[in-house]
Amino acid sequence: MQLRKVTAASAAVLALALTATACGSEDKDDAAGSGGGGKITIGIKIDQPGLGLKTPDGKFAGFDVDVATYIAKELGFDAKNIEFVETKSADRETAIERGDVKFIAATYSINDERLQKVDFAGPYLLAHQDVLVRADDNTIKSPEDLNNKKLCSVTGSTSAKNVKEKLAPKAQLQNYGGYSECLTGLENKAIDALTTDDSILAGYAAQEAHKGKFKLAGFKMTNENYGIGLKKGDADLKKKVDAALTKMVSDGSWDKAVEANFGPANYKNEKAPEIGNVVK
């Protein structure tokens, strides 16, 4: 008898779970269906302040988001008809190839390996690998000064390894799961410098909680040309996106977006890159 009660209970739970999931998928279908052909799906990052961040109220903010919204507008889509989805670094090529997203604006640097799989419009931003230090720390003036300093980056990132192998072999390397832990360490002086693309660093330093505490050192250790990733061979879309980016720069929206997203971090951005001009 006892057993039968348990079985009944678990059956009920299972049935509930099934109905719940069924509801969920139905809702989604409805949303997609009612939009008809009027929606556009864009891949962004949702965890990088200043570039692509999902805010607690469910909206998206950042430079990549501003650029993507502008392009979508030029392609004929209202802001409310844009659906942003997260594309993690490792998933970006697959998402484009499968057609999950129309295009990707997610700190996507143009390089030869990626050009074999996808096409790029742009570039729309020229970033460099840089280091973030405490605002009152004046001991790090060149990459070589990082010797005997404590350098932080995230697991799986190549930026810190580049520094250690090429520029400052005596630097101590600490890897964390996310940049936030590095920033805590930087604030506590357990870490002396945090390294990755300057645009990402500027985004973190410009966050409300970090304003005025950190500064960019301004080393241009690499060139990262952020482009808009598109399906390979879609020349028509590439032309339209390029035109949208050109217009964004010429009407001043580009400068406004840079100022709004990276402004407070002493970030000396490069001029808006020319379309098709990939700086090696």
Binding site: A90, Q172, L173, Q174, N175, Y176, G177, E181, T184, A190
Partner: protein, 228 residues
Amino acid sequence: MEAREIVFDFLEGYDLLGAFWVTVKLTVYSALGALIWGTLLAGMRVGPVPLMRGFGTAYVNIVRNIPLTVIIVFASLGLFQTLQVTLGGGDNFETVNFRLAVLSLALYTAAFVCEALRSGINTVPAGQAEAARALGLSFTQVLRLIILPQAFRSVVNPLANVLIALTKNTTVAAAIGVVEAAYLMKDMIEAEAQLILISAIFAFGFICLTLPTGLVLGWVSKKVAVKR
């Protein structure tokens, strides 16, 4: 031969064995720590002093309900970065992180060891403890000479479970930069376009570690079981 070389040539330049060796070391050191601290906790929980019983109960219920990632990241951010606890690792991040990871894993796993052991203590008939007390043995003597030897023999299998879980939990140490298997896996996935193959290799590596653990300890469990 050639096909194998083509499929696995992305492994070159990675210290796969070295990373798994760190995993093994993390497991062994934290298992020892957890066994000792877990036994002490179990002793406290069945002991006659209310304060110690209360401490043991509180410790187990708090620690086993906190996610391991939180404990490990707290050890790094709280103990190391803020309080500058280096556990004798000095200025070397690698040593400090490794020791912090061992400390966190041991403290966390001890809660599970304690509960496994306590269930073993409950299998020893109460009459044995009473008889030992009647002979004039103190509480620690009863525990050490009569209860624990029998309790341990009946919980080899549950402890093997805890050990296997611990082996896999060591992957969380990657969050604070300990270069063990999961850390290397993240590195490789980022640099090579071989997601499924890399994951399969690491899954296989962990099976190589945990399957023998389970088999050997299962056999030991049968050997030493108390026949009642």
